[in-house]
């Protein structure tokens, strides 16, 4: 199991906390010595006797921005270093879990969630650890220095700080309680809005604007409710700190008047709690960041804390580059304790085309995952060229199979790089050939910069049909003898789907093909159809 964030950065965080603490201490000292100075000046002494304090005020005034600057540089640098290593570690940990352990649909949404969660977790370094450490350092100095002037004053500050810590603790509990609710509410708002934004025409067509807006309104109301609940945590810390400061100021005034102290020292002690408030008020932010980071960490850990779907078994190489694939009595499931499909037999000699159909949940994609060696069979045997696939090197078996799924990713890079990942040694000539075979000839001719045209985020937009064909072009270029298509036309309209499927058959001629689809387009071209719809037992 992978945990996020190495120990090294913790030391950096501590250093940043010390700088931050010194900045806050300078701030408190600035206010306190100013108070002393003013009161002392009002007694009209010889100016020379004030010089030490004047130098002190000036020093503290300059020290505060200086230390704060150091703290910021240090904390952000170490947070970014943590982010870099957390990203690398999590990415590497996700590789063996991909694709079978990322959920069955919307894998890209799951992965985007991981990106955001990691940022939240690492941000907690800057927004939680450093402010808390800084506040602790400032509180320590305040207790020691006021204690040196008058022990009971030190005690007052100490008690105040303990109560502040308790308040922050209660605030954290409040924020934690609101987090799951808030996450669910945000997700529902996103779903409701996205559904409308992506299907505006279809909603208008049936006159359902009021229905979808009603759902959005309900989602917004829930979100508002969740945010109000969440705000209680922060409100508690903000209000609590200020109220405690008021109380501490009064107690301090009582202590100071009850002792035999000079006027200047009395003034200094009375303003200390107010000055400390600036140091501990940022804890309200920390409490929120901490609750969010905890929630994010739970999600990431739950994702990473899974066993890979493939037991690293064999090292043998597959016997042939054009293998005969056979499933015998295979059952499989996305988790070890649940059978999603099977027992199933499937015979796929080189060049055979098989369509897999069946109702939702009948295990079409599960079966494809077994063929792609993304998932071990729970029972039965998967033979590749006559040998049990689990005895063979997983990577080598995967090298025989090209997968085209329903959400192929286009990287934010040019057309060339997007195709080369399927075959790094391909020449431009090959790439253009692959695009033509996949039915993208005229699309390619229309590109402004040919293979250098940028695609993906920030680049040229592509339609659903073009995206499916680009995935097909990758499969073609990879020269892998088996092509597995998982709902390749799921999101396309009828006319486009028919054309894409016809390009699929042209492009994959001579290869073994398995296509999973809940739609009819193109299924007339397969040699056999495997229907997974379970026969009713009741």
């Amino acid at each position: 199991m992978t945990t996020i964030g190495p120990a090294l950065a913790r030391r950096d965080g501590a250093v940043a906390g010390v700088w931050g603490g010194l900045a806050l201490t300078s701030g408190v000292a600035l206010t306190a010595t100013s108070g002393w100075l003013i009161v002392r000046a009002a007694e009209r002494p010889v100016i020379l006797t004030l010089l030490t304090a004047i130098v002190g005020v000036r020093a503290f005034g300059m020290a505060r921005p200086f230390f704060r600057h150091l703290e910021r540089l240090r904390s952000h640098d170490s947070a970014l270093a943590d982010l870099a290593s957390a990203r690398t570690e999590v990415y590497a940990a996700l590789v063996p879990l991909t694709p079978a352990r990322l959920g069955r649909r919307s894998r890209s949404a799951v992965l985007t969630g991981v990106v955001d969660d990691l940022t939240d977790v690492v941000e907690a370094h800057v927004r939680v650890r450093v402010p808390v450490l800084s506040a602790a350092v400032a509180a320590f100095f305040a207790i020691v220095l006021t204690g040196a002037l008058e022990p009971r004053a030190g005690l007052v500050v100490a008690v105040e700080m303990v109560l502040v810590a308790l308040t922050a603790r209660v605030g954290l509990v409040r924020e934690r309680e609101a987090q799951p609710l808030l996450g669910a509410a945000r997700a529902e708002v996103g779903r409701a809005a996205e559904l409308v934004a992506r299907h505006t025409l279809e909603v208008q067509a049936i006159g359902a604007a009021a229905d979808v807006l009603g759902r959005l309104d309900r989602a917004h109301a829930d979100l508002a409710d969740a945010l109000r609940r969440q705000s209680r945590g922060r409100a508690l810390v903000t209000g609590g700190v200020l109220a405690l400061t008021g109380a501490a100021t009064i107690v301090m005034a009582a202590v100071a008047t009850g002792s035999d102290l000079s006027a200047g020292v009395t003034a200094l002690l009375v303003v200390v709690p107010a000055a400390l408030a600036d140091a501990v008020l940022p804890l309200a932010d920390s409490v929120r960041a901490q609750a969010r980071a905890e929630q994010s960490r739970l999600r990431v850990d739950a994702l990473l804390d899974q066993a890979p779907a493939i037991a690293d078994a064999g090292t043998a190489q597959p016997p042939s580059r054009a293998p005969h694939l056979v499933l015998e009595d295979v059952t499989a499931g996305w988790s070890a304790d649940h059978v999603d499909v099977g027992p199933v037999d499937l015979d796929l000699p080189p060049g055979r085309r098989v369509g897999i159909v069946g109702a939702n949940g009948s295990g079409k994609s599960t079966l494809l995952a077994v063929l792609a060696r993304a998932l071990d069979p729970l029972a039965g045997t998967y033979r590749v060229g006559g040998r049990d696939a689990t005895e063979l090197d997983t990577e080598a078996v995967r090298d025989l199979v090209a997968v085209v799924d329903d959400e192929p990713h286009l990287f934010a890079s040019d057309v060339r790089a997007n195709l080369l990942l399927a075959r790094p040694d391909a020449q431009d000539e090959d790439l253009r050939g692959g695009l033509r075979v996949a039915g993208l000839g005229s699309w390619f001719d229309g590109l402004p910069d040919g293979l250098d045209t940028r695609l993906g985020a920030g680049g040229r937009g592509v339609s659903g049909g073009e995206r499916a064909r680009l995935a097909l072009a990758r499969a073609v270029l990879s020269r892998r003898p088996v092509v597995l298509l998982d709902e390749p036309v799921a999101h396309l309209d009828h006319a486009t789907a028919t054309q894409v499927m016809s390009d699929v058959w042209n492009a994959t001629s001579g290869r073994s093909v398995v296509v999973v689809s809940h739609r009819q387009e193109g299924l007339d071209m397969v040699d056999t159809i495997l229907d997974l719809t379970p026969t009713r037992k009741d």
Binding site: I38, A193, T200, V203, A267, Q520
Partner: protein
């Protein structure tokens, strides 16, 4: 960027009240801070003079409690203002798009980004930046006014130095603006890289390229760190400079006060008050600067959202929709946005009660014609008049709710279960639904995922049966059905055609054979054969 765009209040009038309330609470908080300075100065003076300080202690407690209460209120009001603003913008946007023809909307990808992330980016702006902005305006004014009364000389010092802060900030901003913009863009690219590689992970794994990317991720994250730190170093330096400037300004006030105190020309109370009030004039302004980046993202998002909400070039695309079962199209011409070629040119068509079929090759504009009749696209020329329309698209819209919810969408909410079952029977789905464990309450997946295209279409047709619209438009109503299914649907349409005007785009010859009217769309000309 504009710190506050007044168009926000025009476009989303419902946010006026929460925004004003938030502003009022933030201003009240600032006033309480000033009041606290008075109370604290009084307390210190009384304590130092060994006078009775119970009264001033009471004021201090009151001031702290008021500040605490307002502080809590700001959190709460800030949170609800944030959701109200983002919700109003999001709803306004979607409502507008739902009333607009295809030409008046961005594409689906852009639309969903705007509606989901765009509107959410407004939340920190409303919750954090707006109160900071109000405090940044109100508190310095209050502090300076109070100083003018208490100690005019200190007020003059503050008034003289205060403008240096924004000026200084603007100067730093100006000299680094180009550089900052360039860096932000580079940063976005570097930060985007990880997300891109993550979303593409299944693809990379499928082609055996994922492990090689681990080192790339490490290297790019490291570059990201260095680039971010270069940008941040500059930002932090300018913020430190501003803080130093504020500190020096307060120090000038303090020196003046100190000199006059030792000279005896000022009371202790006035002196204390002056040095407690002076910082109150500076920190709110620095706070506005500190929230600037959260604000800049939010303000950019707002202006982008407002652009889409304000331009009122098109009014709603849906025709008024009378109860008449008829469609009259005259001289209709249409070209897709950004294209000159007309996909439909000078088409006229009159359809009344009965079934009209539209045929033509793929790409001849059948679906587009139905979109135009439904008022979902703006014609380039000609006119369309139609009664109230229910339009079954090729992929009928299904929510991720139950079958009941899917059937009730756009229809009267009081439909009974019997009516729903009857509609399902007419499209041949009743047996399938009856076999489902939860029957009508069975949940469909997101966007109807899990239904075959044929089942989806039948659900769409059942919904059309339930609708009371006099005009039904159907796009390929038999496309995904087997022979038996098509025969059933053809029979159903014959029945419906007795009371409604039905226009169906189709390839199916059996449907064409039973139609009252047949329109064939050619490549360039539309010919009508009655």
């Amino acid at each position: 960027m504009k710190p506050f765009d007044p168009r926000l209040l025009q476009v989303a009038p419902t946010v006026r009240r929460p925004v004003i309330l938030l502003g009022a609470v933030a201003a009240g908080q600032g006033a309480a801070a000033i009041g606290l300075a008075f109370a604290l100065a009084r307390l210190v003076t009384d304590v130092v003079a060994h006078e009775d300080w119970v009264r001033s202690a009471g004021w201090v407690v009151v001031a702290f409690l008021v500040r605490a209460g307002l502080g809590m209120l700001v959190e709460r009001v800030g949170a609800s203002t944030a959701t109200e603003v983002s919700a109003a913008l999001r709803r306004g946007l979607l409502e507008r798009w739902l009333a607009a023809p295809v030409e008046g909307r961005p594409d689906a990808e852009k639309a969903s980004t705007l509606a989901v992330q765009g509107a959410s980016a407004v939340e920190p702006y409303a919750a954090r930046f707006l109160p900071a902005l109000v405090a940044g305006v109100v508190v310095p004014v209050l502090a300076v006014s109070a100083l003018l009364v208490v100690d005019p000389l200190s007020a003059v010092v503050v008034i003289a130095t205060l403008p240096l802060l924004p000026l200084f900030a603007a100067l730093i901003g100006r000299t680094t603006e180009d550089d900052t913009m360039r860096r932000w863009r580079a940063l976005e690219q570097l930060a985007g890289h990880f997300g891109d590689v993550m979303r593409g992970l299944p693809t990379l794994v499928a082609f055996g390229r994922a492990r090689r990317q681990v080192e790339v991720v490490r290297a790019v994250s490291e570059q990201d760190r260095l680039a971010t730190m270069r940008t941040l170093r500059l930002a932090f330096l300018s913020s430190a400079a501003l803080e130093l400037l504020a500190t020096i300004s307060v120090a000038i006030v303090a020196v003046c006060v100190g000199l006059r105190l030792t000279h005896g020309s000022m009371t202790l109370h006035a002196g204390l008050l002056a040095i407690l009030l002076a910082p109150e004039a500076y920190w709110p302004i620095r706070k506005v600067g500190a929230e600037f980046h959260a604000a800049a993202d939010g303000a950019t998002a707002i202006s982008r959202l407002l652009e889409h909400s304000v331009d009122g070039a098109h009014s709603g695309g849906t025709p008024s929709g009378s109860g008449v079962p008829a469609v009259v199209v005259e001289g209709l011409g249409y070209a897709y946005p950004g294209s000159q070629a007309r996909v439909i040119d000078d088409l006229s068509l009159t359809a009344g009660l009965g079934l009209t079929v539209v045929t033509g090759e793929s790409g001849s504009g059948k679906s587009t014609l139905l979109d135009l009749v439904a008022g979902l696209r703006l014609p380039c020329s000609g006119t369309v008049e139609a009664g109230r329309v229910h339009y079954v698209t090729q992929r009928p819209f299904l929510p991720d709710g139950t079958i009941t919810e899917a059937l009730r969408m756009g229809n009267a909410p009081e439909l009974t279960a019997q009516e729903l079952w009857s509609a399902l029977r007419q499209v041949g789905l009743d047996e399938l639904v009856a076999r489902l464990p939860d029957g009508l309450d069975t949940s469909l997946g997101d966007d109807g995922f899990g239904l075959s295209a044929g089942q989806r279409l039948r659900l769409g047709l059942a919904r059309a049966v339930l609708s009371d619209a006099p005009v039904l438009l159907l796009d390929e109503p038999t496309a995904h059905l087997d022979r038996e299914g098509s025969a059933l649907v053809t029979g159903l349409l014959r029945n419906l055609a007795a009371e409604r005007c039905i226009v169906a785009a189709t390839h199916a010859s059996e449907l064409v054979a039973t139609a009252e009217q047949h329109v064939h769309l050619g490549r360039t000309l539309a010919e009508v054969t009655a």
